[in-house]
Amino acid sequence: MHIEMTNISKLFGTNQVLFDANFELQDGEIHALMGENGAGKSTLMKILTGVHQKNSGKILIDGKEVTYKHPIEAEKNGIVFVYQELSSALDMSVEENLFLGREITKKFSVVDKKAMCATTNEVLNRLGLEINPNETLGNLSIGQQQLVEIAKALLVNTKVIILDEPTSALTDKEVDKLFSVVRLLKSQGVSFIYISHRMEEIFELCDRVSVLRDGRYIGTKKISDTNKDDLIKMMIGRDLGNMFQKEIIPIGKPVLEVKNLTKHGLFKNISFTVHSGEVLGFAGLMGAGRTEIMKTVFGSFKADNGEIILDGKRINTKHYCPGDAKNAGIGYIPEDRKEEGLMIEKSIKGNIGITNYDLITSNGFIIDKNKENDLSKKAIKELSIKCTGINHLADNLSGGNQQKVVFAKWLYTNPKVLILDEPTRGVDVGAKQEIYSLITKLVKNGAAVIMVSSDLPEVLGMSDRIMVIHEGTIGGVINKDVATQKNIMTLATGGTINE
């Protein structure tokens, strides 16, 4: 299937998000679509599949002009969008999900379970997946759920599959599996449009890449004719320079000490110290227990055993809760900003307010609207949050700007320790760099930062020391000067390194 989109423009109200954008997909290729958050990638694809309607421009499919009014229409014509947030019924089985809304029926609308299970098996086999059709979808890993979603696309005669950030929640192993499925389908004549921020994946998987910036089409290149720096330049319109801007800051006194922290079934005997001016990285595989450790340090989970000592004072962990942690000077930025970091339907102002009552009230109780507005204005300015003002809804911000709002929630509480859990996940390169410079500013001002991250270049670029967690225990601690991706991965997978 050959798709050609030319001069596509789109306005949401008065807000123009696409300006004469172009995109071309050839038969049987894997075509990467790149750009910062808010560049218009998803919108362009939603126009292609009929979720949104274009204001002007032309879409040609195999030479014929088409305008789909609804995703179902696009799906019938062989174009399927697999969304970033999976839209599946987690309580239903794999087979039920595959056939949701298009069940095979016998007489009187009785579903033909046998036929559907058979087809499900067939499709799963075609993808080389060993998944039981009767398994409840929610019991599968995120990676498997993603593959089921792709299998769903194969039920109809699909020629083009659009994947939007498909690997953002997958483990390395699951990514490999996904890629092999994508390659297999390509060999069977299916084309892919692959939206992703991850350079490594683009270079590993794709044939060509198109770049959008601020709603405009920048260009298309063959993967073999381009490189990472080139693409970044296309995406942000300038050279990136030094990504991490790590500065040498003298390490101060210990701020937070954790001793033998244990929570049965999740992690055990975790001990570490983080100092003022230090970034302590936490690396490890997904599910190694890093988030759980941090949530325990923050009082969101209860420890079974162990001590938490802040500024030399032992915290009573018996009735310890996030409110106590906050009052003691610990901040926590969770890994899933939409689930846990933000009130998505509230404004920037509303989100920043709830951690900063000290700053927006006159007596700790009655809110001073002027102070509240000023605080949010200050945050928008200092963190250069792209928005229409303090009343901009969090939901309508790009990922990077949402993350900046979450940072703003904690920045002004002047935390002694700030825990960051995957601080740049789903954030574009430009905003990433700004977040790194925020982290540097924090430690410069004497804060201690704990950074949990699965992004190894980020861990290596930002940390002073790196703790590697393996299956709920400390796999090892590596100093910045000797840390490499290889020795981190060795420790993360249970190996040992000889120094």
């Binding site: 923050f298 009230t361 109780f365 009655i366």
Partner: protein, 312 residues
């Protein structure tokens, strides 16, 4: 373009208030009896019981919960109060005890929701049934009347101040207090945050448990307060008092534009919803529409209100 947008925002923001104005105009045009000050005051006085209950219901719903037990709490606390008055307990003390009892009953709902981790619908369904049953046991199924002639008690339901019935004053004062707390205080923010995203709220250091104890206790308090007004007006209390009131209150909250998922809504909306429903009842009675049709009309109004609310 921008102006147009502002206009539609205003309609969204004050949709229920605009609807109320239209309703009042319509009823006033149709019926000369409706538009008398006397009638408007009696309409507002009648609405005060539902108003108080709906205020408490609003804060519970804002946290993403629901309180089905308000009608039963009202009956139980009203009987308690009537029993005390009949037994010779001085009215101020009896009133105080009734209000505290309301808080305690509400708090029990909070305990079930927070500590028992029972869904609010089920938890308050349990207490709704239990409180009603206890009210029956306590009164042996019979009304308690002849409560003495305490001036304070009579004043609550039947008194006037500056020519306006006291129940209306109570409703206005509570409205202002609720509005102040919801809009201008930390507790208000915590309430909205809990309903908006309880995970984010908890990780922001807010004690979700405290917020929930508080809102259910408040709901119990307003139910008990509403019960006092009823007892004062009726001069008696009976165990079936207040049955079905939870639904009237929920309807008023919904008409007022508060999201049943929590996190969004205003106490002004609830007050408007209360008056819309009361005006409908009153207006249709005056015009002489049969009570069978009244229910259908009310249902249509609630449906329209909820449909027109983009926040739903």
């Amino acid at each position: 373009m921008n102006k147009l947008k502002n206009k539609s925002n205003v309609i969204q923001e004050y949709g229920s208030q605009i609807a109320l104005v239209f309703l009042l105009l319509l009823l006033s045009i149709i019926s000369p009896e409706f538009r008398t000050i006397q009638n408007i005051l009696s309409l507002l006085r009648q609405s005060s019981v539902n108003g108080l209950i709906a205020f408490g219901m609003t804060v519970v719903i804002l946290t993403g919960g629901i309180d089905l037990s308000v009608g039963s709490s009202l009956a139980l606390t009203a009987l308690l109060g009537a029993g005390m008055l009949k037994g010779g307990v001085p009215a101020p003390l009896a009133i105080l005890i009734v209000l505290i009892a309301g808080i305690v009953l509400g708090f029990l709902n909070g305990v079930m929701v927070v500590n028992g981790k029972i869904q609010p619908f089920i938890a308050t369904l349990v207490s709704m049934t239990a409180f009603r049953g206890i009210a029956m046991i306590f009164s042996d199924g019979r009304p308690i009347s002849r409560l003495g002639d305490s001036k304070l008690l009579l004043f609550l339901g039947q008194g006037q101040f500056l020519g306006i019935p006291v129940p209306i004053w109570i409703m206005i004062i509570l409205f202002l207090i609720f509005r102040f707390f919801l809009q201008n205080t930390v507790i208000g923010r915590d309430t909205y945050a809990t309903g908006s995203n309880y995970k984010a709220a908890a990780l922001a250091g807010i004690s979700i448990a405290k917020v929930k104890y508080l809102v259910y206790a408040v709901s119990g308090f307003t139910a008990a307060f509403a019960g006092l007004i009823l007892v004062s007006r009726l001069g008696s209390a009976q165990p079936t008092l207040g049955s079905g009131y939870e639904l009237d209150a929920i309807a008023a909250v919904a008409v007022g534009g508060t999201s049943m998922n929590g996190g969004r809504g205003k106490i002004l909306g609830t007050l408007t919803g209360v008056i819309i429903i009361a005006s409908l009842n009153n207006g249709m009675n005056i015009i002489g529409i049969s009570s069978y049709y009244q229910q259908v009309v009310k249902a249509i109004v609630i449906l329209l209100a909820v449909l027109s609310d983009s926040n739903r």
